[in-house]
C-alpha cells in the first residue's frame, strides 16, 4: 500500500501527514488529526454522520480519500463555534430539541450549515430535501427541520462557515 504526504487545513490549522492511499478522509480526521466529533454511521454513504465542509461544500467524508483532500480546507463540527459561542445552527438544534442521542448530530449540523450557505431561508420542504442525505433514528426529523429554520432566522450558517465558504 503506497503512502503519500498530504497537507490539509482543518478548522484553520494546517498539518502535513503521511497517509496510506486508501485512508478515508473521515478516518484521517478522527485518527490522524484526533477530531472525533465527526462520526461514522454506515459504510455505504447513506447516513451522512460524517458530513463536513470541504472547500465550502458539504461532503460525506467517508466517500473522500484523505489524499484527495491534499491542499484542501476542511471545516468540521469542532470548528463551527466562533470564540466559544455556538453557531446559529448549533444553537438552533439546542433551542428546538433537534437532537437526542447526538450521534448523527455533527453530520446533520454540517449538512444544515451547508444548506444555509446555499439557501439562507429554506422552507420546510427545502430543509427536508436539503438534509435527505443525513439519517437520524431518534427525532423523526420535525424538530431538526425546526432547528434549521430557527438558525435561518438567527444568523444562518454563521460567520465561521461563511468565512470558510468564501476563502
Amino acid at each position: 500500500m503506497s503512502h503519500h504526504k498530504i497537507r490539509v487545513t482543518v478548522n484553520g490549522a494546517t498539518s502535513e501527514d503521511e497517509v496510506e492511499a486508501r485512508l478515508l478522509l473521515v478516518h484521517y480526521l478522527r485518527d490522524v488529526r484526533g477530531l472525533t466529533g465527526t462520526h461514522v454511521g454506515c459504510d455505504t454513504s447513506n447516513c451522512g454522520a460524517c458530513t463536513v465542509l470541504l472547500n465550502g461544500r458539504t461532503v460525506k467524508s467517508c466517500s473522500v480519500l484523505a489524499v484527495a483532500a491534499d491542499g484542501a480546507d476542511v471545516l468540521t463540527v469542532e470548528g463551527l463555534a466562533a470564540d466559544g459561542e455556538m453557531s446559529p445552527v448549533q444553537q438552533g438544534f439546542q433551542q428546538c430539541h433537534g437532537l437526542q442521542c447526538g450521534y448523527c448530530t455533527p453530520g446533520m449540523v454540517m449538512a444544515a450549515t451547508g444548506l444555509l450557505l446555499d439557501n439562507p431561508d429554506p422552507g420546510e420542504d427545502e430543509v427536508r430535501e436539503g438534509i435527505e442525505g443525513n439519517l437520524c433514528r431518534c427525532t423523526g426529523y420535525s424538530m431538526i427541520v425546526d432547528s434549521v429554520r430557527w438558525a435561518a432566522s438567527h444568523g444562518g450558517a454563521g460567520e465561521v462557515a461563511a468565512r470558510h465558504a468564501t476563502s
Binding site: 486508501r22 484526533g34 454511521g41 455505504t44 468540521t76 455556538m86 438544534f93 427536508r128 427525532t139 426529523y141
Partner: protein
C-alpha cells in the same frame, strides 16, 4: 423560582454533543490500542470443516488470529440453559454474520485485510430461514442436542376459549404478521477492553452497564469489584443495546492475552446482521363478538422467530405480547399462547416496545376487522369495549398485570377535538368518486402498553438483579448538587430531566445540578435504561434521594435557625421560618454547615449525601389515542402520511420539549415499520437487507410533521406520577398507519395489507381490485 417539573427547558446534554465534544466509545483513545475484526460466516447453516489462518497470521501488523478452538474455556453468552451461544462459532454456523474467527492487528485497515485472508471451509447444511421452514416436517434442529426448532412453548391461560368463541354470534380468524425490523441505532456496537492487573475495564455501547459488568464478572470468574463497565455517550439503542454481545467477552479475553487495550468497531453492514433484530412475530387470532361489536373472546397463538440463537432478553418477549393482548378493552376471556422458533437468521431481541407493539398492533387490527365485518365505525367498536376511567386500576386476567390509572375514552375524546373526523370522512367519500385524486384513509390506534419496568420479580426473568433503580444525590459545600443514577441514557435527556426533579425538590438552580451515569466504578448499583423506565423508575429514585437530602437539610436549617422543623419552609433556595420570611438560611449555607461537626448537634451525620433505591410496585401503563391520515396514489400505490395526530397519556410530563421528542421519534419508527422497513432473507438465509442501501431507514423526506397533545392521568404507583413515554409512539403508530391504508382501500373490499405497506404491495392490491371490478 417556578416549578422545573413541567418546564420545557433546553437540554444540558446538547452543547457538548453539538460541538463535537461528545465521547462515544470509539472516541475513547488509549495508548497501545489494537483493533479486533471478525471473520463472519457467509453461509446461513453449515458445518465448519476447517479454518486456515496461516495467511492472515502472516499479514503485516497482525498480532493474532483466534478461532473457537484457540480459546478453550472462554465462556459462552449466557442464555437459556442448554442454548448458550459461544462467542465464536463452534463446529457449525447458524446464521449469516455469525462470528467464526477474530483477527487483531495494530490498525483497523490491517485487521480487515487479514480477516479477508482467513479461509474457512464449510459443509453446507439445509437452511431454514423462516418460521415455516424451521417448523416444516423433517426440519433439522439448528441447535445441536435439541429435538426440534421450537425452543420454548407456553400457554398463558387456563382455557383455549373455544367454548366462548363457538358460542359467539360472530367469529373471525385473522392472520397477522409483525415483520422483522432492525433497530439501527446510528452508532453501531463498539467496545474497548483494557485488562489491567487490577481488573478489567470495558467501555461499551450498552443500555445496561451494571448488568454487563455482572455478566462479565460471572463469565470470567472475577468479583464484581474487579470489573468496570463504562457506557459513555451512547448513540441510540432502541432496546438492541440491552443485549449482551460476544464482542464484549472477546475484546476482554484478547486484552488479557495481549496485555493491550483491544477495540472493536462494528461496521454498519456488520451491524445489520449482527445486532439483534426485533418484532418477528406471527399471530393466528380468533375473535368472537356480538352484533354490536362487543368483544366476547380472543384467542391468539403467537409464533416468535428467535433467529439463530435464543437471546436472553428476546426469549421473554412473547410473554409481554400475551399479557398485553387485550389492549384497552374488556374482553371476557383471552387465551394467549406462544412458541419460540429458532431459524437460520440473526438473533431477535428487544426493539423499542419489545413485545408490546406486537400486541397493540394485533388487537387494534382485530378491532378494525370486527368493525369492517359488522359495517360499524371503528371508533364505535372501540368505545363499546373500552375499559372505563372509573374502572381503574384494572386487573387483567393475567396475574400481576394491573393497568394503572388511565382514561382510554378521554384520550380518544381529546383526539377528536383535534381532528375533524366528519370532514375527513366526507373527504374520503368524495375522493373515492374522483379518480383524479389520491385515495384517503383514516386510521386509529387507541393503545395501552407497559412502561416503568419493572417490579423485581418480572425483571429477574430477564436475568437482572432487580427491577428497581437507584439514585444518589449529593450537595457540595457550595450548595451545588451532583446526581448519580443507575439508568444509562442514550438520547433520553436524563441529565436534564433528573436535574429538573432535583431543582424542584431542593430548590436549587437547575444550572447548579449535574448528573453522573453509565460508569459502574462511580455509580452505585444500577439497572439501566430500557422499558420506558427512565422517568417512572429512575426519576422516582432521584426524587426520593433528593427528598432524603431535603429532609436532612431541613434538620440542619432548623438547628441553624433555632426553630422547629415544622415551622420551616423551603422557598426560592432558602429555608425560612413561616411567617417571618426575613429569617432564613440558604441551601448553600446549610450545605457548608453540613460539613462542620462542631457546629452541628452531637453525633449528627456529616454531609448531605443520600441514596435511594426505588422499587416500583407495579408496571406503569402509558396509553393514548393516535390518528393517521394517509393518501394513496392510485397509479403508483405510494402511501403518503398526510397527517399524524398523537394524544398521549404518559402521566406527569417532566419536560414537554423532550416528551415531544420521544413521541416524534417513536412515531417515526412506527410509521417506518408500517410503510418502509423489513429485514428480509432469501430461502438460502442470505440477508436481502444487509446494508442501509437495502434497508430503508426513513429520511426527512419520508416522514410527516407530527401533531402531539397529552391528557394527564398520573399513575399512583410512583411518587412522580410519570408512566414513561419512550416506547409509546413505536407501539401506537404501526396500526394507526395500517388501519388508515386499509381504510383507504376498504371500498375495494380490502380487509388487510401486510406491513410494510410498500408502493409495490399497495399497487398490486389496487391492480387486482381494478381487475375484479372490470
Amino acid at each position: 423560582m417556578g416549578s422545573m417539573i413541567g418546564a420545557a427547558v433546553v437540554r444540558k446534554e446538547d452543547p457538548a454533543l453539538l460541538t463535537g465534544r461528545g465521547t462515544y466509545v470509539d472516541d475513547v483513545r488509549l495508548p497501545g490500542t489494537v483493533h479486533m475484526v471478525y471473520v463472519r460466516s457467509y453461509l446461513a447453516h453449515a458445518r465448519i470443516v476447517s479454518i486456515d489462518t496461516s495467511e492472515a497470521v502472516a499479514t503485516p501488523g497482525v498480532l493474532g488470529v483466534w478461532t473457537n478452538a484457540d480459546l478453550p474455556g472462554l465462556p459462552p453468552n449466557r442464555s437459556v440453559p442448554g442454548m448458550e451461544r459461544p462467542c465464536l462459532a463452534r463446529d457449525k454456523v447458524r446464521f449469516v454474520g455469525e462470528p467464526v474467527a477474530v483477527v487483531v492487528a495494530a490498525d483497523r485497515y490491517a485487521a480487515a485485510d487479514a480477516a479477508e485472508a482467513v479461509l474457512v471451509e464449510y459443509e453446507e447444511l439445509p437452511v431454514m430461514a423462516s418460521i415455516a421452514a424451521a417448523t416444516a416436517d423433517g426440519a433439522v434442529p439448528i441447535i445441536d442436542g435439541l429435538e426440534s426448532n421450537v425452543v420454548l412453548e407456553q400457554v398463558l391461560s387456563a382455557t383455549d376459549a373455544e367454548a366462548e368463541l363457538a358460542a359467539a354470534p360472530h367469529r373471525l380468524s385473522i392472520h397477522l404478521k409483525n415483520q422483522r425490523c432492525a433497530a439501527v441505532p446510528m452508532e453501531p456496537t463498539v467496545c474497548l477492553a483494557d485488562w489491567q492487573a487490577s481488573g478489567l475495564t470495558l467501555w461499551a455501547t450498552t443500555q445496561t452497564p451494571h448488568h454487563s459488568r455482572n455478566e462479565l464478572a460471572a463469565m470470567f470468574g472475577l468479583s464484581q469489584q474487579e470489573v468496570r463497565v463504562v457506557a459513555p455517550d451512547v448513540g441510540g439503542g432502541f432496546g438492541a443495546k440491552a443485549s449482551f454481545y460476544p464482542e464484549f467477552i472477546l475484546t476482554a479475553e484478547l486484552s488479557k492475552r495481549l496485555r493491550r487495550p483491544v477495540k472493536f468497531v462494528e461496521t454498519r453492514s456488520e451491524n445489520m446482521i449482527s445486532m439483534v433484530h426485533g418484532r418477528a412475530q406471527e399471530h393466528d387470532v380468533e375473535v368472537g363478538f356480538d352484533d354490536d361489536g362487543t368483544l366476547l373472546a380472543l384467542r391468539v397463538r403467537i409464533t416468535q422467530d428467535c433467529g439463530g440463537w435464543p437471546d436472553a432478553t428476546g426469549i421473554g418477549l412473547p410473554t409481554l405480547t400475551s399479557f398485553m393482548s387485550g389492549g384497552c378493552y374488556k374482553i371476557p376471556v383471552i387465551a394467549p399462547s406462544f412458541r419460540s422458533v429458532v431459524t437460520n437468521t440473526t438473533p431477535v431481541g428487544s426493539y423499542r416496545g419489545a413485545g408490546r407493539p406486537e400486541a397493540s398492533f394485533m388487537i387494534e387490527r382485530v378491532v378494525d376487522h370486527v368493525a369492517a365485518e359488522l359495517g360499524l365505525d371503528p371508533l364505535e367498536v372501540r368505545r363499546r369495549n373500552f375499559v372505563q376511567a372509573d374502572e381503574m386500576p384494572f386487573a387483567t386476567q393475567f396475574e400481576g398485570i394491573v393497568y394503572d390509572e388511565a382514561n382510554f375514552p378521554g384520550a380518544l375524546d381529546k383526539l377528536l377535538t383535534v381532528i375533524d373526523y366528519d370532514a375527513l370522512r366526507a373527504d374520503r367519500a368524495a375522493r373515492r368518486d374522483d379518480p383524479s385524486k389520491p385515495l384517503l384513509g383514516i386510521g386509529f390506534s387507541t393503545f395501552v402498553e407497559m412502561g416503568g419496568f419493572g417490579p423485581t420479580p418480572l425483571f429477574e426473568q430477564f436475568g437482572y438483579v432487580g427491577g428497581w433503580e437507584s439514585a444518589n444525590v449529593r450537595l457540595n459545600s457550595d450548595g451545588s448538587a451532583v446526581i448519580k443514577v443507575g439508568t444509562s441514557p442514550h438520547g433520553q435527556g436524563h441529565q436534564t430531566a433528573f436535574a429538573q426533579i432535583v431543582a424542584d425538590e431542593l430548590s436549587i438552580p437547575f444550572e447548579r445540578i449535574s448528573l453522573v451515569h453509565g460508569d459502574t466504578a462511580t455509580v452505585q448499583e444500577g439497572i439501566g435504561t430500557m422499558g420506558s423506565r427512565g422517568a417512572p423508575v429512575g426519576g422516582s429514585a432521584v426524587f426520593q434521594a433528593a427528598g432524603k437530602v431535603r429532609a436532612k437539610a431541613m434538620k440542619i436549617a432548623a438547628h441553624m435557625l433555632e426553630a422547629d422543623e415544622s415551622d420551616l419552609e423551603l422557598v426560592d433556595g432558602r429555608f425560612r421560618v413561616k411567617g417571618t420570611p426575613d429569617q432564613g438560611v440558604s441551601m448553600a449555607e446549610v450545605a457548608v454547615r453540613s460539613f462542620k461537626p462542631h457546629l452541628l448537634p452531637d453525633g449528627f451525620d456529616l454531609g448531605l449525601d443520600e441514596t435511594a433505591y426505588f422499587e416500583p410496585k407495579n408496571l406503569s401503563y402509558p396509553s393514548g389515542a393516535h390518528c393517521c391520515v394517509v393518501e394513496i396514489d392510485r397509479d403508483t400505490g405510494f402511501v403518503k402520511v398526510a397527517r399524524y395526530v398523537a394524544v398521549d397519556d404518559c402521566g406527569t410530563v417532566i419536560n414537554p420539549l423532550m416528551a415531544t421528542g420521544q413521541i416524534h421519534g417513536g412515531v417515526a419508527q412506527g410509521i417506518a415499520q408500517a410503510l418502509l422497513e423489513e429485514v428480509r432473507y432469501g430461502a438460502d438465509g442470505q440477508p436481502a437487507t444487509g446494508t442501509l442501501v437495502d434497508y430503508t431507514l426513513p429520511s426527512a423526506m419520508d416522514l410527516p410533521r407530527y401533531e402531539t397533545d397529552h391528557i394527564v392521568t398520573p399513575t399512583s404507583f410512583n411518587p412522580l406520577g410519570a408512566k414513561g413515554l419512550g416506547e409509546s409512539g413505536a407501539t401506537a403508530a404501526p396500526q394507526a398507519v395500517v388501519n388508515a391504508v386499509v381504510d383507504a382501500l376498504g371500498h375495494l373490499g380490502v380487509r388487510d395489507v401486510e406491513m410494510p405497506c410498500t408502493p409495490q404491495k399497495v399497487w398490486r392490491i389496487l391492480q387486482s381490485a381494478g381487475e375484479d371490478r372490470s
